[in-house]
């Protein structure tokens, strides 16, 4: 069995960024394994602009953003094994992959970075009643058909869910000549970025129906229409508001789920809220030498943050590879989400591990708030607080915490209280 130094599973933005960074940090043997015939992951099909504002200070399309990293990976001699699917990963970092050229590929990695990305939530997962005809697509699948294959999945479209992929597709389908009748969102607020609501819906006069859902799908062979209805405060449909909307296609943009089948195989502990691994500040999972970054860890709203997170994971992996002797299980500070927050990441701080002067924490609110106070409490009481404005569950919150605070805590709780009096 061949031993490799660092194996990165997934060649999307997270995997590519991590590979380039690890190489820069002196890891000589870096291998990316990707299941598709070209690297770039989901960016390949994201032909709209808006990528790279943070990392490159310019507005790139998805393929352009990916291309920068692909070019750099090639320059630095990073091996990318394409058309190869990893089918097994163990907790001692043995990898079994398969492709047509080599058959089964068995490797032992000294460190692994998980960068498998996420998949889309389906109709089954949200249990929409009705028939099961042709014409129901997840937004990402529709995007693939249009941008990669050059085919239109439909002509008259209703979109359920206002995730970013759905919003982008509303605009794109319109530009391609399809009619997008409406976007129905079960929540009282959108799950997409504000800029996408403005640029993809409002600019094209596509109605966003908040507090609405699809209660029935019509058509035996092909979608002929859907029934939509308003929902009450408990998200139960109010059937008296039901109305029929004819369409040949229903697009679903109802959430993304990190793809952690391999992580589970390797016994990595999964955070039930993020759907991704539990990690420390170096993005190391609960299994030694296995790191994670990007959408496999938690779903991001912009790719720049994936890149930044991937660099952290790469540094973690590089440090791990340089270690001479095996460390005893370190003392960790758990970081838990309190009131007002769905999750906080990283979920724990390893006090024996490398700590920057300030540590970034990422989190999502449970609901939109115009104004709120972020409170960081340790076992010693409130150690930090900050006023935030225009808080949206779709827009990730980040906060920097000083190293000293972490070093002096046995545990941390971060919470978000709505409102908060003026003058704070």
């Amino acid at each position: 069995m061949r031993v490799r130094e660092l194996v990165i599973i997934g060649g999307g933005p997270a995997g590519l960024s991590a590979a380039v960074e690890a190489k820069k940090l002196g890891v000589e043997d870096v291998l990316i394994i990707d299941r598709e015939s070209e690297p770039g992951g989901i960016l390949k099909q994201c032909i709209h602009t808006g990528f790279g504002l943070h990392v490159f200070k310019e507005e790139l399309t998805g393929p352009e953003y990916a291309e920068r990293f692909i070019a750099e990976a090639q320059e630095r001699g990073i091996e990318i094994m394409l058309d190869t699917m990893v089918i097994e990963l163990t907790d001692d970092r043995r990898i079994l992959a398969v492709n047509s050229r080599d058959g089964l590929v068995e490797l032992k990695a000294r460190a692994v970075i998980l960068a498998m990305g996420c998949r889309e939530r389906t109709r089954g997962a949200i249990n929409i009643p009705g028939f099961r005809p042709s014409g129901i697509f997840t937004a990402g699948t529709a995007q693939y058909f249009i941008n990669i294959e050059g085919y239109m999945p439909g002509k008259e479209v209703v979109i359920l869910g206002s995730g970013d992929v759905g919003l982008i597709m509303a605009r794109h389908l319109t530009l391609e000549g399809a009619k997008v009748k409406c976007v129905a969102e079960i929540m009282p607020y959108s799950n997409g970025l504000t800029r996408n609501i403005v640029q993809c819906l409002q600019d094209f006069n596509i109605p966003l129906l908040l507090n609405h859902t699809v209660v029935n799908i019509h058509g035996k062979k092909r979608v002929e229409g859907v029934t939509i209805a308003e929902v009450d405060l408990n998200r139960k449909p109010r059937m008296e508001t039901a109305r029929y909307v004819s369409c040949d296609t229903l697009l679903l943009s109802v959430g993304l789920i990190p793809e952690n089948e391999l992580s589970r195989m390797a016994k990595v502990q999964i955070d039930e809220v993020t759907g991704g691994p539990v990690v420390d500040q170096s993005m190391q999972t609960t299994i030694e030498g296995i790191f994670a970054c990007g959408n496999v860890l938690h779903v991001h709203d912009v790719v720049d943050l994936v890149t930044i997170e991937a660099r952290v994971a790469a540094r973690g992996a590089a440090d791990f590879l340089k270690q001479k002797k095996k460390r005893i299980r370190p003392a960790t500070v758990p970081v838990i989400p309190g009131e007002g927050l769905r999750y906080v990441l990283p979920q724990r701080i390893d006090l024996d591990g490398a700590l920057e002067e300030t540590q970034n924490f990422f989190m999502r609110s449970v609901k939109p708030m115009d104004r709120g106070r972020l409170l960081i409490q340790s076992d010693r009481g409130v150690v930090m607080s900050k006023i935030l404005k225009f808080i949206r569950p779709s827009e990730m919150i980040s906060i920097k915490v000083k190293r000293e605070i972490l070093q002096q805590s046995n545990c941390l709780k971060i919470s978000l209280c709505e409102g908060s009096e003026n003058g704070d």
């Binding site: 699917m85 089918i87 889309e120 089954g124 249990n127 042709s134 085919y151 391609e176 009619k179 092909r222």
Partner: protein, 489 residues
């Protein structure tokens, strides 16, 4: 000349076709849809029942017992996975125990063996996640699970290998007795003349019988809805778990599938429309409530899909398997509701006997091949087998469906073999590509490409389940007005 025309490509029609293919006969099977198992056979509980449910003396009781016993041989010959995992009828209150005793007596009268009532302790030993109020259970080790679609496909493939002609997209538009003592069966494309016609039309058997001028009966569709859970939760239960039955139904069960998932369902609601396989939100609530009485800790966040199937319930409430006394050569095989799948092998035997009684001469072929091989299931093979397979055909190294680890080699095989897949659903049911947790989100564009390449058709012509269910609507830019503007109407 055709010796026998079979109407209907469900598990019953295909079982009969395969049995007839042992003999020197010209057999035609007509199916209105684009694939076999497109009706009741594709959407049911997939349980091979032990046989204690039906009243002694009914056809259901007799054929279930005989059918159950035949499954080992059939599945061995056809290389179809089948597991006798056993079933439990659970009593969740003391009153139910009396019902279990009645079932035990009924089962014994029907000839089910072994069959016994087990204690609460034994039950929890077998099923730790069962409702803590459960007090006893009826245990039937001979109950099994199978993939009914895979079974039906295997039967059809083996029948085709042995010379049966299978016609898809061929709804019967007319069937009648002719003056020469023959019967005429008409589809939109062809007309067949045959001395024998077998009506295995499932939900539509009553309409076919009426069309032929044979005995009148009615088939009422009885809807059952289901939820399927992710394979991740496969350790929730080990056996087929029934509640104590009511007069109307065996109740909502919690049951493993042969492929490693588990499901809950079905409910049982008589409806009017024989095409109405829509899932309802009331139905989903109903099966969740029902299943929770058996397994309270259902991991509902891991549901991957829902579906509904229709049972073909006759007004006699028993199977109707008989030669028509009114139309010579016409044989009804109707009302095949539960335990229809379990009984199917015995139903086929019975139909052969009826055909002989009606004057069909059976001469065994000397070249009948009883064996059929499954598509190599890459995910189930060991590493040595996988290496060998990829060396032999590199397409087996190309994973198309991530969730179920289905390779291009398997998909191509599913298309190229006899009675091959012609649609996305056909591929899905033969290989499991698209049946996993992402429900085809990733693999369906890839499968469409392979279907298009293998069948030599445009991707625009590739369907989900036959004509009218095309997946793509046009090329990009096709819908843009000629002046270049986007559609603002």
């Amino acid at each position: 000349m055709t010796d026998v025309v079979i109407i209907g490509g469900g598990v019953v029609g295909c079982m009969i076709a395969r049995e007839l293919s042992r003999f020197d006969l010209s057999v035609v099977l007509l199916e209105k849809e684009e694939d076999v198992a497109s009706g009741t056979s594709k959407a049911n509980s997939a349980v091979i029942h032990a046989g204690y449910d039906a009243k002694p003396g009914t056809l259901k009781a007799q054929l279930n017992i005989r059918g159950n016993a035949l499954f080992d041989k059939i599945c061995d010959e056809l290389d179809v996975p089948f597991k006798r995992i056993g079933s439990l009828v659970v009593a969740v209150k003391e009153d139910d125990v009396k019902e279990l005793e009645k079932l035990l007596e009924q089962g014994k009268a029907n000839g089910v063996s072994p069959l016994k009532i087990i204690s609460k302790e034994e039950l929890f030993e077998l099923e730790p996640n069962i409702n803590s109020k459960a007090c006893a259970a009826l245990y039937a080790p001979t109950a099994g699970i199978i993939n009914p679609f895979e079974l039906t496909v295997a039967l059809a493939e083996n029948a085709a290998q042995n010379g049966v002609t299978i016609r898809f997209n061929s709804p019967v538009v007319d069937v009648k007795a002719c003056d020469d003592g023959m019967m005429m069966v008409k589809t939109p494309h062809e007309t067949f003349h045959s001395p024998f016609v077998i009506n295995a039309a499932g939900l539509f058997a009553d309409e076919i019988s009426q069309m032929a001028g044979a005995e009148a009966y009615t088939i009422t569709p009885r809807k059952g809805e289901y939820l399927i859970f992710d394979k991740r939760c496969s350790d929730m239960i080990n056996m087929v778990i029934f509640p104590t039955p009511t007069k109307f139904s065996k109740g909502i069960l919690v049951c493993p599938t042969i492929d490693g998932n588990f499901f809950i369902g079905p409910n049982s609601n008589d409806i009017e429309d024989k095409h109405d396989t829509g899932v309802t939100s009331e139905g989903i609530d109903e099966i969740i409530r029902g299943a929770r009485r058996l397994v309270p800790g259902l991991p509902l966040e891991n549901v991957i899909t829902s579906f509904a199937g229709l049972r073909a319930v006759s007004n006699t409430n028993d199977f109707i398997i008989e030669a028509s006394r009114k139309v010579k050569g016409f044989i009804n095989v109707g009302g095949i509701q539960s335990p229809g799948l379990s009984s199917a092998p015995a139903i086929a035997e019975m139909v052969i006997e009826i055909l002989q009684e009606e004057g069909l001469t059976l001469k065994e072929k000397n070249n009948f091949n009883s064996r059929r091989n499954r598509i190599y299931p890459f995910r189930e093979l060991n590493d040595e087998e996988r290496k060998k397979l990829i060396r032999h055909n590199p397409a087996y190294g190309h994973v198309i469906c991530r969730c179920e680890t289905v390779t291009e080699g398997e998909i191509v095989d599913a298309i190229r073999r006899p009675v091959g897949a012609r649609s996305l659903d056909g591929i899905k049911r033969r290989t499991r590509a698209g049946l996993g947790r992402c429900q085809g989100g990733f693999c369906s564009p890839r499968v469409i490409k392979i279907l298009s390449r293998e069948l030599g058709i445009s991707p625009l012509k590739v369907t989900k389940c036959g004509q009218g269910s095309e997946i793509l609507k046009g090329r990009t830019k096709d819908f843009i007005d000629s002046d270049g503007d986007f559609n603002e109407s």
